[in-house]
Amino acid sequence: MKILFSKSHEWAAIEGKTARVGISDHAQKELGDLVFVNLPEVGAEVKAGEVLCDVESVKAVSDLYAPVSGKVVAVNDELEGAPELINRDAMKAWICEIEVSEVPSDLMDEEGYQKFIKG
């Protein structure tokens, strides 16, 4: 399994043909206390870099972008009643699983991403 990050602060843990997707700890901190995760629809076709779903804090809504292209095959229902799981451990709280058709070349590994957010 390898974990890659996008410039829009999503992560994708890719194992074989599927990728679990979530948002980075940095993104979680920037967004503040999340109050709702508007999960994507299972079966939806998504393209890397396009809107995947959105998350709500009290006074803001933020779009999340698909880090990889493919089809949404599962969503993490647990987040529906407990969006705070993302604030607690963003790397553990996955949002959905995507059956990957394409991984963009500009995704970064952990080290690269840390540099990117500091840069």
Partner: protein
């Protein structure tokens, strides 16, 4: 002339000096000179006394009837004195939207109580803080139910004409279709509905009672909608909900209606208040403000506007609805009315409406104004007769009675509420009997 200003000429001068300008005009130096207006073409101002005289004279040009037998979306009910009196407190009237929770607990709690009462009345899980009126509530419900691949609302030609018109306006530029089926004997035709629903149906919308006052088989309609995986939206007269099966009992996903009968005067059509309630599942798609309960940092119970990320001021072009102002003050009146009446009072009002309406229907039948439709009705019904509707209504008008609404040359839609009494109804029947 009165302009409600609060500064004297001397103070104006001091203020201009403090700002560092010579005249009021200097403050407007950003406005291009050639655009400035020479003088507004309005009459000169009046003293408050003259304004009162002027407005009173206008009000006298309207005829106030002793007896009102017309409904069709606006209903004459008794409004208890305490509702009128307590709702006229200026703190309620002159407050803004309760964005500052720490100094607006009264408004927030009032809305929370209103939401709770609407939930109890409809049986639904969640109510918003109100929308403009019943027709707009239906339109907002239509938008709520519309999905990417489900873009047709199905209804019947027995809903309020204004509601249908507003639905059509709101659908026009959203690639939403409003399919209007023909009613059978005034009521929803279930066979036709079954044939019409399909993969593209977003929701089925009916009114209970419908425009002609008839009771619909709402539960069955809900089932048909749900079998097609469409939503079921019910428009309700809130007075009738005191005795009729609630939208929740009928399986509705969204319940809407106009709250006017609950303490608001007819007032030539407004302001009224649209109520909207839905199941928990639909909560985050509901438009408009919602008040929620929480705690403050000391753990005290507190109320706030919540789930705001749904709304236009945060979601902007991605919002489900553009609604901002609602009808909060009217919602307050509604909750006062419901508190003043209580469960027993509400039931009495509803039953009184039913009894009086059925009495009038029976008496009219005796003199040849037959009911057009077979089905059961609440407090409105349609009659047909050989005597032209115009003649009947004119005769009633002369006797100070606002008769029913003319639907066609020979059809009249009547409404009777608890404001009627037997003597008045007998008098109306007597007037009609003399019409030749």
């Amino acid at each position: 002339m009165s302009n409600y200003l609060s500064v004297t000429e001397r103070e104006t001068k001091e203020m201009l000096e403090s700002i560092g300008v010579k005249s009021l005009d200097d403050l407007f130096d950003d406005i291009p000179k050639d655009l400035k207006l020479k003088k507004l073409g309005l009459p000169e101002g009046k003293s408050q006394q003259e304004t009162m005289e002027f407005m009173r004279a206008l009000s006298k040009k309207n005829k106030v009837y002793d007896v009102i037998l017309r409904g069709a979306g606006s209903y004459d009910h008794y409004i208890p004195s305490m509702v009128k009196n307590l709702s006229s407190r200026s703190e309620f009237i002159t407050a803004y939207t309760p964005y500052q929770a720490e100094m607006s607990q009264g408004i927030l709690q009032a809305i929370f109580e209103y939401q709770s009462m609407i939930c109890n009345l409809t049986g639904m899980d969640v109510s918003n803080a109100s929308v403009y009126n019943g027709a707009n509530a239906a339109a907002e419900a239509m938008l709520m139910c519309t999905e990417r691949n489900r873009r047709t609302l199905i209804t019947f030609d027995n809903i309020r004409p204004d509601t249908l018109k507003v639905l059509k306006t709101y659908a026009a530029r959203r690639e939403i279709k409003v399919e209007v089926l023909s009613a059978k004997d005034g009521a929803a035709d279930l066979k036709a509905l079954k044939a019409a629903v399909g993969e593209d149906t977003s929701c089925v919308y009916i009114e209970q009672p419908n425009y002609f006052g008839l009771l619909e088989d709402a539960e069955e309609i809900g089932k048909i909608a749900h079998e097609a995986k469409a939503k079921f939206v019910m428009g309700c007269n809130p007075i009738s909900l005191a005795i009729l099966r609630s939208p929740a009992e009928c399986g509705a996903d969204v319940a809407v209606g106009d709250g006017q009968p609950l303490g608001l005067p007819m007032a030539f059509g407004g302001p009224y208040v649209g109520f909207m309630a839905c199941t928990n599942k639909e909560m985050r798609k509901m438009p408009g403000r919602i008040v929620g309960e929480t705690t403050d940092h000391d753990g005290n119970r507190a109320y706030v506007l919540t789930l705001q990320a749904r709304e236009q001021h945060i979601r902007r072009e991605k919002a489900f609805s553009n609604i901002c102002s609602n009808q909060a003050y009217c919602a307050l009146v509604v909750s006062m009315y419901l508190s003043a009446m209580g469960p027993d009072g509400m039931k009495e009002v509803a039953e009184s409406c039913v009894s009086y309406a059925h009495y009038l229907a029976a008496e009219l039948e005796k003199i040849g104004l037959k009911r057009r439709d077979k089905g059961e009705f609440f407090h409105e019904f349609v009659t047909v007769s050989d005597i032209p509707a115009d003649k009947i209504l004119k005769a009633l008008d002369k006797a100070g009675i606002l008769g029913g609404l003319k639907l066609s040359a020979n059809e009249i839609l009547w409404c009777v509420t608890e404001t009627a009494n037997k003597a008045q109804l007998d008098r109306a029947v007597d007037v009609i009997r003399r019409v030749k």
